[in-house]
């Protein structure tokens, strides 16, 4: 057995789960799909005293359409997102991104909420949630609160979740017919962590993109929004020169951090490569 010993409980409701979490404090870890947690336990990077298995909590399940919003439960797996008709129709960026997440056996268990709550800067869902203006629905013993994705990812593996919080679901405004998107990821092997990636969403009007959202991931401590680049492109006729300028702007504004195998220079270069590809694809 690879991990240190721990206890295991499986609450049947959200109230019970919140109670158990409040009681156990910071020594407890929630487990949903466990596809990151189990690996860290196996490597003894984490030694919680108790795992609280939330997979029986109904309030955390399912993808539903509620008027102009999609509600994605925290327990929805990557595979469910990949295969969901509601996602394909109303949040096509997520369908495009899903196959990039690890491998099928991992996508079958790993969850939407787990990925968001873990806040890995190399992960796909944090970047997508920012690109799609998602709202996190969070429960704690004191009630429900809603946090915009833009206020949720604070630092490396750090979100605005408090120790007694449970991320219940996420709400995403549904895509209209003018929405264009592009998901790009560069990795050494399919399914590996990205060297650099981009989740891009905009409204297309003729030769123009408006309401642009370009979120780069796996380049900094959190997913990074290219605010200046977005403003630069927004509402202008998209031509070769504008793309050249946008690529330059993005390389300047995104503050990249090197990782173990890729230099900051390489990542900075790739930011431009990804943006150029995305803009061309979105205008095609």
């Amino acid at each position: 057995m690879k991990s240190a010993a721990f206890d295991y409980v499986k609450p049947g409701s959200l109230t019970e789960a919140l109670g158990l979490l409040a009681e156990a404090g910071e020594d407890a870890r929630l487990i949903a799909g466990g596809q990151t947690l189990l690996a860290t336990l196996n490597m003894r990077l984490s030694e919680p005293s108790v795992l609280i298995d939330i997979t029986n909590v109904e309030e955390l399940k399912g993808i539903t359409l509620d008027g102009k919003h999609l509600r994605i439960g925290a327990l929805v797996t990557h595979t469910e997102i990949e295969e969901s008709d509601l996602i394909a129709k109303h949040a096509p960026l997520l369908k495009a991104a899903a196959p990039h997440i690890a491998h099928r056996a991992i996508r079958n268990l790993g969850t939407w909420g787990g990925s968001l709550a873990y806040g890995d800067p190399a992960a796909e869902w944090p970047a997508c949630s920012l690109a799609l203006n998602a709202t996190m629905i969070i429960h704690s013993p004191s009630g429900e609160r809603r946090v915009a994705a833009s206020d949720f990812f604070i630092d490396l593996y750090t979100t605005s979740l408090e120790p007694d919080d449970i991320l219940v679901a996420t709400e995403i405004p549904i895509a209209d017919s003018a929405q264009v998107f592009c998901f790009q990821e560069l990795a050494r092997r399919h399914g590996d962590y990205a060297v650099a990636g981009l989740a891009a969403v905009a409204q297309k009007q003729g030769d123009m993109l408006t309401q642009c959202k370009f979120i780069f991931f796996s380049v900094g401590a959190t997913p990074l929004m290219a605010g200046k680049t977005q403003s630069w492109i927004d509402g202008k006729n998209l031509n070769e020169q504008l793309i050249v300028d946008a690529v330059k702007t993005a390389r300047e504004e995104i503050e990249v951090i090197a990782d173990l195998t890729n230099s900051a220079e390489a990542k900075q270069h790739l930011v431009g490569v990804l943006l150029e590809r995305a803009l061309k694809q979105m205008m095609a």
């Binding site: 057995m1 690879k2 991990s3 240190a4 010993a5 721990f6 206890d7 295991y8 487990i31 466990g34 596809q35 189990l38 690996a39 336990l41 196996n42 490597m43 005293s49 795992l51 298995d53 997979t55 595979t79 196959p99 690890a102 491998h103 099928r104 056996a105 991992i106 079958n108 268990l109 092997r189 399919h190 399914g191």
Partner: protein, 169 residues
């Protein structure tokens, strides 16, 4: 803290009840307690795919799943799926295409391939490569494995069978 938990699950069609430590992985439980040595242990951190088994109809990593999580579930391993014939054409095709040498990855590879054949019967060669990218093979160089899976997809789409390498006597 060695408080054991009682679990009941179905493994290859047989109901099993056991007491396990919460930290015991499903693949360790299968191998050590149930003596099912088909699922292999490679990296034990989710990278290699050698421990692939099915839980409630889906492939998972046996090293990233606890035995206690499988309480109430239906678990299938290469042993059960071989016996039921679910993998028969893939197994024939792996033999026909020399899609193995040492065999360490084969059980995981076959289970991954089976889910692809079921979920994406029209998969292209590229999609096959992507799908099995989660399973390491250190012998074959993958081409023969991809060949074997593509041959099954092809045969099934035409309603044909993979010819056995060894004819039944």
């Amino acid at each position: 803290m060695s408080l054991k938990k009682k679990i009941t699950l179905t493994v290859n069609g047989i109901q099993v009840t056991a007491e396990v430590e919460p930290r015991m992985h499903l693949v360790d439980f299968l191998r050590e307690d149930l003596h099912l040595k088909g699922p292999h242990l490679g990296c034990e951190q989710g990278a290699c795919g050698a421990c692939t088994v099915k839980v409630d109809g889906q492939i998972i990593r046996g090293c990233l799943y606890l035995a206690v999580q499988a309480n109430g579930s239906v678990v299938e391993t290469i042993e059960g799926l071989t016996k039921s014939g679910a993998l028969a054409d893939l197994q024939e095709s792996f033999m026909r295409h020399n899609a193995m040498q040492c065999g360490f990855c084969s059980s995981g590879m076959l289970l991954a391939a089976a889910e692809l054949v079921e979920k994406q019967p029209k998969a292209s060669r590229e999609q096959v490569r992507e799908w099995i990218s989660g399973n390491y093979c250190r012998c074959t160089g993958y081409h023969s494995i991809v060949d074997a899976i593509v041959a099954v997809l092809d045969a099934r789409s035409k309603g044909q069978k993979i010819k056995p390498v060894v004819a039944n006597a």
